[in-house]
Amino acid sequence: MTCVHLLLTLVFAVSLGTPVEIQRPRGVPLTSIQFYVENKPFTCLDGSRAIPFDRVNDDYCDCKDGSDEPGTAACPNGSFHCTNAGYRPMFIPSSRINDGICDCCDTTDEYNSGAKCENTCKELGRKEREVLQKMAEITKEGFLLKQHLIEEAKKGQQEKKSKVTDMQGNKKQLDEKVEVLRTVKETAEQPEKEAKERHLKAWEEQKAAIRLEKDKAKMAEAFFVSVSELQSHAELDADADGTLTETEAQGLMGGAEQVDTSTFESVWPNIKDKYHSEVSREEADMSCLVSSEVPFGKMFFFFFTVVKLSAQKARDDFEEAEKALREMDDQIRNIEKELSFDFGPDAEFTYLYSQCYELTTSEYIYRLCPFNRISQKPKYGGSETNLGTWGSWSGPENNKYLLMKYEHGTGCWQGPNRSTTVKLTCGKETVVTSTSEPSRCEYLMEFTTPAVCQEPANTDLSPHDHEEL
């Protein structure tokens, strides 16, 4: 039987070299020491019951809240405190006590498992301080850059706002100008329009006459008298089976075997739409003529040119003014759009607008254009894939500006549309540092920017073990 023995006394040799003896049960933090008084009944921390003190850490769970076994794995919900002198103290689930795995850097969690643990707290503490130091430097510099970015952004915003106001004033003038020119144009166009209409009417009449004549000519050419003659024209086949049977031909001819000219006139309307002959080419020419918008007779052409010339100038003037107005509208809209983005509480993300940042991996080139879109392009040829367009800030409630969400990218086979989450961390540089696809078609991009650097707190970077001393 391997029963773990109660161990009440721990001797701490702290980094300063002065041995300090503190009596407390294994796994209890200093903050709770008052609840564990030797030789007095122990009351479970949830108050559920009291037990003799020798049942604290006796490797049997008596308290429902696990508080009687802070130093053994007996309770399913217990927690063990390691001091980790030189590093930071921590609580681990008591199930990790003596499980053969070194969890506490001071090795105190493995006191009876045979696991060979080394005390790594000093090393960890040193590393952590180094990292924190580095982080602090980056944060400090980043935060300075951020202030600069904020200034720039505010300046830029002011400029843009006043620009919009200016432009809106100019636009008003331009609006008026356009209206004036429109009236001028419409007046100038009146004679032209009338002339056109007049001529069109005449042309329609002329066209009808030509058509009638052509039809007659065609009928004359087509005139035939027998069923067999008609049968040679397969295009007249009624049931489209490819041959014109005798019966079908007779049907077209109104039941007769043969017809004379006058009867043919009654047959002709049945077949003329399908009938093919040499005239059909002329027919095509004519239909081309008919469909063209304005026919130019010589007389008409002269008249029309004069009228048109006077209208053209008014038209050009008007169009020029209208174009200028449209361009101004676009500019205003673009600036307004830019101003409408949420560039952070102090507009610190403004500088990212209309910029793009690339990261090249072994297979792809990733391109992040903040507030616009993210794409992925194979390094060695192939088309670009949209990994999402700007959606929203989606960080946690306390700081939504730590994550960007880009959505509705190219669809995945049998899956969702691609989307990307961009995780922003404080850095001096503005760079994409990594990309990954943790879940199919859901990308994760890490991006450093000074814009998320927080004001450095005036923190003391010395080890966190004061509590234990």
Binding site: A73, D99, Q414
Partner: protein, 948 residues
């Protein structure tokens, strides 16, 4: 990422027209399978077969007889064996086949032991043989031929009673060039032929003999008409050349008094097999079915041709040892309809009695069938285990929780998932890597950019006492830069196509070869590839998963290998269902060898056959995140367990599609109580590690997994027993309550061993389940509340999201390790808590099994602890079940919980050395639960606790 996956996406799009459900048209119906269609055209009636009793030969171990088909005069040889342990083996082959027919090797663990089969009586039309035991007789009726096994006045089973014995003899092809020319040019061709080939001369001789043999009865040759599909068969764009022509076999079995038959996995169907009249028969043909449908007799990934029949009178089994494509028809009938002749001298026939008729049809090979006569369920398990072996005893860690996904992308991903489990305080033992881990799907290698330092990764896991599984599939990328391919090529180990070249097909890596796993030399070579120095980057905490071993061939007929492909002298047709078993066997052998024979292997397989239980675990393949799939996982694993394969599980969460949080939680709760417990997900699905569904669901999943870990000692002991006896670990209720008809069709609850009854919640939004608690006079205790319920009742149980209805049988003692840690290895030396649930007589018993949890020393050196725990007359004691075994454990008894007892005035622990000590205890009088505090005795010791 996208580029490498582009290829298979395209493949899948091409192959699987419907992406949402199985494309049935990819798979044959019986009508589309030429031999099945031919066989099904034969209807029940008078059999043309006649036994020639004068050909009887009797030896100590068997009798033989010739059968003749009066229609075509072909003779068959019938062999009958009486096997030890109450079994009868019936073998039928052609007396003189044109060439040998395939007899399945390597499935039986040894030649079954025979017992003397003696002739009791004989007349002109029958032969009565004694099967020993309680007046058991085997009656051979000569004309029409049939076999009946009777016990006293009862017929147990009849063979060919419906006249469906049909044996397509091998024959020379009539429409070959030689046949056509010889009919016109005659002798000229014969002389030409003799110049070119001496072999064909030989064949001709055999052919003549065969014809002679067929004519000797009445001098008439009745040439059978060729039917479509006999010599060539085309399905979709694939042609099966069938150089050997028709070769199918069929035999019917009638089971009087039987209404319930089970087994013949793998099908996504009910536990109780359905009547197949009017539908396709159940099909056994290992296939990679994309997004399989539920409640369907279609073939799936594995096949075990074992059918179990059960009635209140008797449990029996039929083991049809044939590895070719097989169809099983099941119909209900009335007993007595087919009774006539000699048997009527023996039996009383009630024409009203129900009967189940079963007909087996296979494409090639011989009839080799084992009739396991029971009579109890446990007897059938023992009988089947004596033929094909028992469940391999897995290392304990394999019974713990497995976290899988297609794919964990890279080493970083593996590390962060591993950390995620610790951060959320959820135990797990294994993380799995699917096909993307290998370099270009070249198995035995690692993707150099995603897994540049596999050993570093494995060491990281080992430091947490955890393990990893990496996939190794049997399709080998054809690539002259790939060592494995080159070696197989140079050793000539690939399966051949019909023309003798290396068979190639499409699978994950693109063009692939398929090693011939039926070749023992090939298997030995394959096993050697798992040696640490061969498999670079592998370590002892890395195990293996064999997928796609049906084998899956994306561009093959029915997504598998062409039947005319060649494995040495045999066609793929003959060996198909056996291929997957060999793959897993060779892999498991490799894992044993790499440890110098010390460590127990763990290999998961998707394809399997009878005997696969000896090599590891199986799972139910590519299921989907649907409630129906969660439900069907129960009957699917129960059916597998009945057929010997206990180590079964379904992908928790469902492989395809995205489970709702509710479905995922329910699946974890169900999976925690199934033998193989692994979560898995398709690459296209969103991530679903247990902590991604909010803190409440994380807590629910954590609790389900913890329940699994606490019960690991019980699971381990059951697997030890399964390994020794062949009893399934996960059991249908009827196995333990064979007389309770109400249990016969239950498939929404089951027993783990005989002492735990589980009714998982498998309905969306369920607020209650109704569980049937079996056993008259039995009592059941809710394991969470200790509430007591009487047996033989349907119990309405309100449920919440945290409920997993589990009951412990009164009369049982279950050992748990209630200190759940982050992996099972971390719990190795932890103490046990004994849960003794008393029956109505106030007694209970159970077992405790302990060993080193991972080596073969339990077997080789008898290093284990096996204790019998019993409670009666207020005394609980632990007794050694294996006095000749030796093992010392650090584990001790931390607590004893006696459920359903009364309050004692004192509790005394008596140690083996006679010392006594008083135990403290608490008694909860409302639930009648007595808790004995900290007996502290070593788990391997003899001890007694006396309550007064």
């Amino acid at each position: 990422m996208a580029a490498s996956r582009g290829r298979w996406v395209l493949l899948i799009v091409l192959l699987c027209v419907s992406a949402r459900a199985v494309d049935r048209s990819n798979f044959k119906t019986c009508e589309q399978s030429a031999f099945c269609k031919r066989q099904k055209e034969l209807k029940p009636g008078q059999s043309p077969y006649r036994a020639l009793l004068d050909t009887l030969e009797l030896s100590d171990s068997r009798i033989t007889l010739q059968l003749i088909n009066d229609n075509n005069k072909v003779r068959l040889l019938l062999e009958l064996y009486r096997l030890q342990g109450n079994m009868t083996r019936v073998k039928i082959n052609e007396l003189k086949p044109l060439k040998p027919r395939y007899e399945v090797p390597d499935v039986l663990i040894s030649d079954p032991f025979t017992e003397t089969l003696s002739v009791v009586s004989q007349d002109e039309n029958s032969l009565v043989l004694s099967l020993g035991g309680k007046d058991q007789r085997l009656i051979v009726s000569a004309q029409p031929f049939r076999l009946d096994i009777v016990e006293g006045p009862q017929v147990l089973v009849s063979l060919n009673s419906r006249g469906l014995l049909a044996f397509e003899h091998l024959r020379a092809r009539k429409d070959t060039i030689s046949h056509k020319i010889s009919s016109t040019v005659g002798s000229m061709w014969d002389s030409l032929k003799s110049i070119f080939s001496s072999k064909s001369e030989l064949e001709q001789v055999t052919e003549q003999e065969n014809v002679e043999q067929r004519t000797d009865e009445d001098g008439q040759i009745k040439e059978e008409e060729d039917k479509p599909g006999m010599w060539e068969e085309t399905f979709k764009s694939h042609t099966d050349s069938k150089p050997n022509g028709p070769s199918s076999i069929s035999l019917d079995f009638s089971l009087p008094g039987v209404e319930h038959v089970y087994g013949i996995p793998e099908h996504a169907d009910t536990l109780k097999l359905k009547n197949t009249d009017g539908s396709d028969p159940y099909r056994l043909y290992n296939l990679d079915v994309f997004q399989y449908e539920l409640h369907n007799p279609m073939a799936l990934y594995g096949a075990v041709p074992v059918l179990i029949s059960h009635s209140t009178d008797r449990t029996m089994g039929i083991f049809w040892l044939n590895a070719a494509e097989t169809w099983v028809d099941i119909s209900s009938n009335t007993a007595g309809k087919m009774m006539f002749g000699k048997i009527l001298d023996f039996v009383q026939v009630s024409s009203e009695a129900p009967q189940t008729d079963v007909r087996w049809i296979s494409e090639s090979g011989i009839i080799d069938v084992f009739i396991m006569l029971g009579p109890k369920p446990a007897d059938v398990f023992t009988q089947y285990a004596s033929l094909t072996g028992t469940q391999s005893f897995p290392p304990l860690t394999a019974l713990a929780y497995h976290q899988c996904r297609w794919n964990y992308n890279d080493q970083e991903d593996v590390k962060s998932v591993d950390q995620g489990f610790d951060e959320h305080d959820i135990p797990y033992d294994f993380i799995w890597l699917d096909i993307e881990h290998a370099d270009g799907k070249r198995y035995f290698t690692w993707d150099p950019s995603k897994f540049p330092q596999p050993k570093e990764m494995l060491q990281g896991l080992m430091d947490k006492r955890r393990k990893l599984v990496a996939i190794v599939d049997p399709h080998i990328r054809v690539d002259s830069g790939y060592k494995i391919h080159n070696e197989i090529l140079s050793k000539n180990f690939y399966v051949k196509n019909k023309d003798g070249g290396d068979y190639e097909g499409w699978c994950w890596p693109g063009n692939s070869g398929y090693p011939d796993f039926t070749n023992p030399e090939m298997r030995a070579w394959w096993a050697s590839k798992f040696a640490y120095e061969q498999y670079e980057g592998s370590m002892e905490n890395q195990y293996v998963w064999n997928d796609m071993n049906e084998p899956s061939v994306f561009n093959g007929p029915e997504v598998t290998m062409h039947k005319d492909a060649l494995h040495g002298g045999w066609e793929h047709r003959d060996v198909h269902n056996l291929y997957g078993l060999y793959v897993q066997k060779a892999t498991a052998d490799g894992l044993v060898e790499r440890s110098g024979g010390v460590e127990r292997p763990f290999v998961l397989t998707r394809a399997f056959f009878a005997g696969s239980q000896r090599y590891g675990a199986v799972w139910t393949g590519d299921n989907a995140a649907e409630w129906g799939h969660l439900k069907i996982s129960i009957p699917m694993c129960l059916s597998l367990g009945l057929a010997g394969i206990s180590f079964c599980g379904a992908d928790v969460g469902g492989f395809f599609k995205h489970p709702s949080a509710e479905l995922l939680v329910r699946w974890y709760q169900a999976g925690a109580y199934q033998p193989f417990f692994r979560a898995h997900a398709h690459i296209d699905t969103p991530r679903r590690e247990p902590w991604l569904f909010g803190p409440e669901n994380t807590a629910l999943i954590r609790e389900a997994i913890r329940q699994r870990y606490a019960l690991l000692p019980y699971w381990y002991q059951l697997f030890y027993n399964a390994h020794r006896t062949g009893y399934p670990v996960m059991r249908p209720l009827w196995v333990e309550y064979p007389d309770d008809v109400a249990t016969f069709s239950i498939e929404d609850e089951y027993l783990i061993g005989k002492d735990l009854l589980v009714h998982p919640v498998t309905d969306e939004g369920a607020t209650a389940v109704t569980a049937y608690l079996p056993g008259k006079g039995e009592v059941w205790y809710d394991v969470h509340t200790f509430q007591k319920h009487d047996g033989e009742q349907s119990l309405y149980i309100p449920v919440t999201m945290s409920s997993i209805p589990v009951f412990q049988r009164g009369g049982s003692i279950i050992c748990r390790k209630d200190r759940v840690r982050r992996s099972s290895s971390c719990m190795e030396n932890d103490p046990y808590t004994l849960y003794a649930a008393l029956n109505s007589q106030g007694s209970a018993e159970g077992e405790l099994y302990i060993d080193d949890f991972h080596t073969f020393n339990f077997e080789k050196a008898k290093q284990f602890v096996h204790r019998h725990l019993s409670f009666s007359a207020n005394t609980l004691s632990s007794r050694n079940l294996a006095p000749d075994s030796q093992f010392s454990t650090a584990s001790w008894i931390e607590k004893i919980v006696i459920i359903g007892g009364s309050q004692p005035s004192s509790a005394t622990l008596k140690n083996a050395d006679g010392t006594e000590s008083a135990l403290e205890f608490e008694f909860d009088s409302t639930l009648a639960v007595l808790t004995l505090r900290k007996p502290g005795v070593n788990a391997a010791a003899d001890w007694t606790v006396i309550l007064r």
